[in-house]
């Protein structure tokens, strides 16, 4: 293992995320490589959604080099370990996010921004939900629409169109 104090500290820390990943690696007879922890550390410090490209650039920004294949490989492991989830929203490239409490995704179809909202009522509703001949493991609710920022901009440009039309 190369000496990278940050990552060594992270591995040595009793961080539950490190513990969970260790358990997964142990259970599958997999090795604990510096690259895997460097990626884990980065992933767990991102609050929202990110693409593979963005993740790799963040890691490189940390001054640590990992190949694209290793990023894909480790992200796959983190998904199997149920620590990370992949989302593909309409018209966008794949994005990842760490698994936390269930939440709804609000996706603006104009600017592509994704907002997460936690809704107790909805969570309760889904928890009570049972399906016929189907054993549910987890769910994703994607709500597509327009965020307030884009709505404002659209309204403005619509108004200026009306203004122009008036002037003619």
């Amino acid at each position: 293992m190369k000496t990278d104090p940050n990552i060594e500290d992270f591995v040595a820390s009793n961080n539950p995320v490190v513990r969970k990943f260790n358990e997964y690696l142990d259970a599958h007879g997999m090795r604990k490589t510096t690259e895997r922890y460097a990626i884990l550390q980065r992933v767990m410090n991102i609050s929202g959604h990110f693409t593979i490209e963005e993740l790799q650039q963040l890691i490189e920004g940390d001054g640590f080099h990992v190949s694209r294949s290793t990023v894909y490989n480790t992200v796959e492991l983190l998904m199997e370990a149920k620590m990370l989830r992949r989302h593909v929203f309409e018209g966008m490239q794949a994005q990842y996010e760490r698994i936390t409490l269930p939440h709804t995704h609000l996706i603006c179809t104009t600017c592509g921004k994704v907002k997460e909202v936690r809704d107790q009522n909805f969570a309760a509703f889904m928890n009570a939900q049972r399906f016929n001949a189907f054993n549910s493991d987890h769910y994703c609710l994607y709500v597509y629409g327009t965020c307030s920022t884009c709505a404002r901009k659209l309204k403005r440009s619509h108004q200026s169109t009306k203004e122009k039309n008036k002037k003619r």
Copy 2:
């Protein structure tokens, strides 16, 4: 326009789907090509989900040739016309389905089968749902889990493992 009686009949029919697509094409000054209607006809006769690959093969099976680019192009138009939707479920390639009444997708993570269920309670819940600073247009609920067929198979193979262990 090449003479293909089936498609001509379809175009001539007062099918609401044809009308809706015509309106979209007219509104955008786009041409009414045989290829577009051939694809529309096929799409509207598929009940479940399909990939681009599958759609093209079905069309070829109908004895009509359309290039891959035209399939992508027309599918894009149908999505803009709000007649078709694209879904990317975890670990699978993009699938399309015609837009009908809102429904939940149950996705088996073992066999990949996708089942649609309509749930009045859920629909009512979502219709009442309002989000802060976000104007909702449509939503997708994906529920991942295990279908009963796979559950049975898994149970059986688990049992036979236990049997084997007993014999030792």
